[in-house]
């Protein structure tokens, strides 16, 4: 299968750009990879434009005043990503808000 990547996703501007090291995407945990894949998959299916996702990502990142390179307890990139994705799913009516856990631990 010869899949194409979306340059809008690969090449986001600094500030929202995917974390990379020497060009290589950096995922710290499996959930980050899954969260990445889910948001990209639904975009590929046409549920939203990447710009819509990116707008949410920008606002999530900007609403967090902590500098993650200094404060290691502040949310990481893919936590912002996940919040953005869940907001978008709710807005688009793909998922009802009450079905999402929004960061509260699942009992």
């Amino acid at each position: 299968m010869n899949r194409k990547t979306n340059p809008d996703i690969s090449n986001m501007a600094p500030g929202t750009a995917l974390p990379r090291k020497s060009g290589e995407l950096v995922f710290h945990d499996r959930w980050e990879r899954r969260a990445f894949a889910l948001a990209v998959t639904l975009c590929e299916q046409g549920h939203y434009d990447w710009d819509e996702f990116r707008e949410h990502l920008i606002s999530e990142i900007q609403s967090d005043p902590a500098d993650p390179s200094v404060d290691h307890n502040s949310p990481g990139y893919y936590e912002h990503w996940l919040n953005s994705f869940e907001r978008l799913l709710t807005e688009k009516g793909i998922c009802a808000a009450d079905t999402l856990t929004k960061g509260t631990p699942v009992k």
């Binding site: 899949r3 340059p7 889910l38 998959t41 990481g76 996940l82």
Partner: protein
């Protein structure tokens, strides 16, 4: 490079690179994503089997193939070649290759009298949006130091013996400037189209340790 910015040379700053969540947070986030994933699977929107493949596609989408297309275009379109040599960043963007985060791409042209070689003497700066991930040897201390002192010797090690009349120029990459070599178009390739030409352009040719491949039989 100043001591106070030990990493600035290597990568565009991204504050999230070192970020790691605590084991408790990781567990909670993992559950949250799992729940989300199963919700989307239930709705028939997501096939779990394709998710890993998708991530891999993005991980591999930094191939030297991008650079090879740039070279093939320059070989066949002299106006494009002019733009490429004048402003590499803008010219690769024309073909849809961005992702340079603040650094400039400078393309240096090999001719019958000049051969260019790219190195990063301090670490491993590399134009990854066009060349993909750097080869292991690019980061070796031996390559980084010897390329400057004895570039012809390095080229010989790669199997490339240049005539003494050919000048060798070595380009040291930095945080601000990434170099890529535009190899000479091989002879006997007049009838080839851009795609066929791109297949002759290896990663090593765009670093400058080799020439572009001759056309196959």
């Amino acid at each position: 490079m100043s001591e106070s910015q030990p990493h600035s040379h290597n990568d565009p700053p991204n504050p999230y690179l070192e970020k790691r969540t605590s084991p408790e947070d990781t567990a909670a986030l993992s559950q949250r994503v799992e729940k989300l994933e199963s919700l989307l699977v239930e709705k028939g929107l997501v096939d779990p089997a394709t998710l890993d493949k998708l991530v891999q596609t993005y991980e591999k989408d930094l191939g030297p193939a991008n650079g090879a297309r740039v070279v093939a275009k320059a070989w066949t379109d002299s106006a494009y070649k002019g733009r490429l040599l004048k402003d590499g960043t803008a010219a690769v963007k024309e073909l849809g290759f961005g992702g340079l985060q603040g650094e400039h791409l400078v393309v240096v042209e090999n001719t019958s009298s000049v051969h260019n070689l790219v190195v990063c003497t301090l670490c491993s700066c590399y134009p990854w949006p066009v060349l993909g991930l750097p080869p292991t040897w690019y980061k070796d201390a031996a390559y980084r130091s010897r390329s400057v002192v004895d570039p012809r010797g390095v080229l010989r090690d790669f199997g490339l013996s240049l005539d003494e009349s050919v000048a060798v120029k070595v380009w040291d990459s930095s945080a601000e400037i990434r170099y890529m070599v535009l190899p000479e178009r091989p002879t006997g390739t007049d009838g080839l189209n851009e795609e066929e030409l791109a297949n002759l352009v290896s990663r090593d040719a765009m670093i400058g340790v080799k020439k572009a491949d001759p056309p196959g039989p």
